[in-house]
């Protein structure tokens, strides 16, 4: 479904990704680990189409489309979802209006009618329950005054409502205590199925105790330097990243 080949990308003319290749098939969960500054977050931003992240080489194929040619909103409508490491606070725009606009945009793209308000609100409330957010959060401004954990759960809520084909979780575990981490992991696991792919970007192995990956990749210096099964994460946890860098 997602095939990244030799991807090169720069931020402010500084090369960050230097030939990254990764292939994700439906139903698979890939974890991407790596030291600080290895390009983990850049990968998520490049895939989501964030401004300022320039693709300078390679290709990203998403169900036969060149993803890099699409506007960020088109990528989302095609089924790509990026859970932000630092979700943005938008006072004045209610969470509910925001969700409805997002869901309607996606449905319209798929040739479906917008959801009527009643069924939309019902679905939104059910999703709130699943991610353990009180319904009052729907009326508040987007992420406005939310705690770190609430923001991540709000990301998860959006993911549930948008039902992406592939979800990229950018350091979703950062800033979460163990309870919040478990809630988020439970939500992600509930969404795992044979059709949906996940790319879980994380610095620590901890999250992978709860979201068990099929593959683990180590990103260093803008490239994937090692791939393996879930046991690779444990090895990284005990030995750190140093041995890999010495290896290259």
């Amino acid at each position: 479904m997602l095939s990244i080949h030799n991807l090169e990308a720069s931020v402010e003319d500084k090369p960050i990704l230097k030939g990254l290749s990764l292939s994700v098939k439906p139903g698979e969960v890939h974890a991407i680990m790596g030291p600080n500054g290895s390009g983990k977050s850049t990968l998520g931003h490049v895939l989501a189409g964030r401004e300022g992240y320039e693709v300078t080489g390679g290709s990203v194929d998403f169900f036969g489309t060149d993803l890099t040619e699409l506007e960020p909103e088109e990528r989302a409508r095609e089924g790509l979802f990026l859970a932000f490491q630092y979700p943005v606070e938008i006072p004045g725009v209610s969470n509910l209006e925001f969700l409805k606009a997002a869901v309607d945009a996606k449905r319209e793209h798929a040739g479906l009618e917008p959801l009527d308000s009643v069924s939309f609100i019902r679905t939104a409330r059910e999703s709130c329950q699943k991610v353990d957010l009180e319904q009052s959060f729907l009326k508040r401004g987007v992420n406005e005054g939310f705690s770190g954990g609430e923001k991540k759960r709000n990301e998860l809520l959006q993911m549930m409502m948008l039902e992406p084909k592939i979800a990229i979780l950018d350091e979703t575990d950062s800033g979460l205590d163990i309870d919040a981490l478990q809630v988020v992991a439970k939500g992600v696991n509930a969404m795992r199925n044979e059709e949906r792919g996940f790319v879980v970007v994380t610095h620590y192995q901890r999250l992978l105790n709860y979201i068990v990956p099929d593959y683990v990749h180590v990103l260093a210096g803008g490239r994937i330097v090692k791939s393996g099964g879930k046991e690779l994460a444990l090895q990284l946890e005990s030995e750190g990243y140093g041995w890999l860098e010495a290896d290259k």
Partner: protein, 439 residues
């Protein structure tokens, strides 16, 4: 003095029993320099348009055909007094200010129909809140005073149903000068809701309205005031709200201001009794080549009073907006709490805002804060919305509206919010589809 002033004064016949006030007003206007941008108080607003506009203050001969649906757009049960092109319209109002049927304790009377007692009250109270000579247009208004409304609430009386004053203009208002005064008096522990609405039909018409609302609040009285300006953009408006607050009186006001050919509004509030409260909130939306100038001046003369002022503006195209907020804390006004915030969002390179929050403090034991910001659309927020599939155009509309929605959420009457919210949303997009999630 502008030559035009003499002509305007000749076009109106002030009420004879107010002759003395009118002459005094004319005296001030004649003695003061006519406002020009050379004066700090008028730095960004030129009155050339009204000096040269040939505005005619003589009465309109034929009333404009206007439907009551056109003017009564708020789904709110009010005592509604409707003025079209500056003239009272009994056919569109649900109240006759010549002989109104009103609940006990509430007086609404047209100056022209005031009885001897009411005349004496008006002679005494009118213009008492306008305490400085620099308010030249307010003095002009009293000099030309041919019509006005007195609204009085008796002590210990709470009037739940709002009083609404609607000024509506049509093609007949082209090149017309219009003036109006409102004098509000709240007795001890009295309460009133007042809505001042300004609107127009879709026809192109110039026209100038000079309007002053005065509010005199006795101790412990409370007023919820709305001033909603949605005239079409060729209209000029110079208006003012002057308030005096006695002990523990509360004045809350919400302002909605769309820009226009020339729009200048002055809010002047005097804290004259201890522990009085003044809350001013508002939003202004200025686009195309519109002009909007808002001045607020809060005088803290006594201790323990509170002022909270929050205004936000969005300026697009070649619009120009001015916010000048001044809080003046006199020497004896200890324990004052005063806050003022003005934030602006600029949506185009040619949009302009001049903002100047001022605190002038002569007391040493006060708590005050003020701030002003000017920003552009938050690109991180835009990215975030787009990353969820929302188009850039719709995201821009949502974010612009969101910027002022925070202030709208403070509106106490849901019917008023329900009326102005869609009106504001429509200002942001030509395309209905971009607004569908806000309407």
């Amino acid at each position: 003095m502008a030559e035009a002033v003499g002509q305007w004064l000749n076009q109106v016949t002030p009420l004879p029993w107010l002759q003395e006030k009118s002459s005094e007003g004319a005296g001030v206007v004649n003695s003061q320099p006519w406002p020009t941008p050379k004066a700090e108080y008028w730095k960004y607003t030129s009155l050339k348009h009204i000096e040269r506009g040939g505005f005619d203050f003589s009465a309109i001969e034929q009333a404009s055909p206007v439907s009551s649906e056109a003017v009564s757009i708020i789904e709110l049960d009010t005592f509604n007094l409707v003025f079209v092109d500056g003239q009272f319209r009994a056919d569109l109002s649900n109240l006759d200010p010549a002989s109104p049927e009103l609940p006990e304790g509430l007086d609404i009377i047209d100056f022209a129909h005031a009885d001897a007692g009411q005349q004496a009250f008006i002679r005494d109270a009118l213009h008492s809140t306008v305490q400085e000579q620099k308010h030249v247009l307010a003095h002009l208004s009293v000099a030309m005073l041919s019509q006005g409304l007195l609204i009085r609430v008796a002590p210990e009386t709470r009037i739940e149903k709002p009083v609404q004053i609607t000024h509506y203009t049509t093609a007949q208002a082209d090149q017309k000068g219009m003036q109006h005064r409102v004098l509000v008096h709240l007795g001890h522990h009295a309460e009133l809701n007042l809505v001042e609405m300004y609107g127009s039909d879709d026809s192109a018409h110039t026209g100038w309205m000079n309007q002053v609302t005065e509010v005199i609040q006795e101790p412990e009285s409370a007023m919820q005031h709305y001033r909603l300006h949605q005239e079409q953009q060729a209209m000029a408006h110079t208006g003012a709200v002057h308030v005096t607050l006695d002990k523990q009186a509360r004045f809350n006001s919400f302002l909605l201001g769309y820009g226009g050919k020339l729009k200048r509004l002055d809010y002047v509030v005097h804290h004259e009794g201890p522990a009085a409260e003044c809350n001013l909130q508002g939003v202004y939306l200025v686009n195309q080549r519109q002009h909007f100038d808002l001045r607020t001046q809060i005088e803290h003369k006594v201790p323990h009073c509170l002022t909270d002022e929050v205004f936000r503006g969005i300026i697009d195209d070649k619009g120009l907006a001015v916010f000048n907020g001044k809080i003046h804390i006199h020497k004896h006004a200890q324990k004052t709490l005063a806050e003022m915030s003005n934030r602006n969002l600029l949506l185009s390179e040619n949009a302009q805002i001049n903002t100047k929050p001022e605190l002038e403090i002569y007391a040493d034991d006060v708590k005050c804060a003020h701030g002003a910001t000017i920003s552009q659309m938050d690109s991180d927020a835009l990215v975030y919305l787009r990353s969820r599939g929302i188009s850039a155009a719709e995201a821009a509309v949502m974010l612009s509206f969101g910027f002022i929605n925070e202030i709208l959420m403070t509106i106490k009457h849901p019917e008023i919010l329900g009326y102005i919210r869609p009106s504001i949303v429509r200002r942001f997009g030509q395309d209905e589809r971009l607004m569908r999630h806000l309407l």
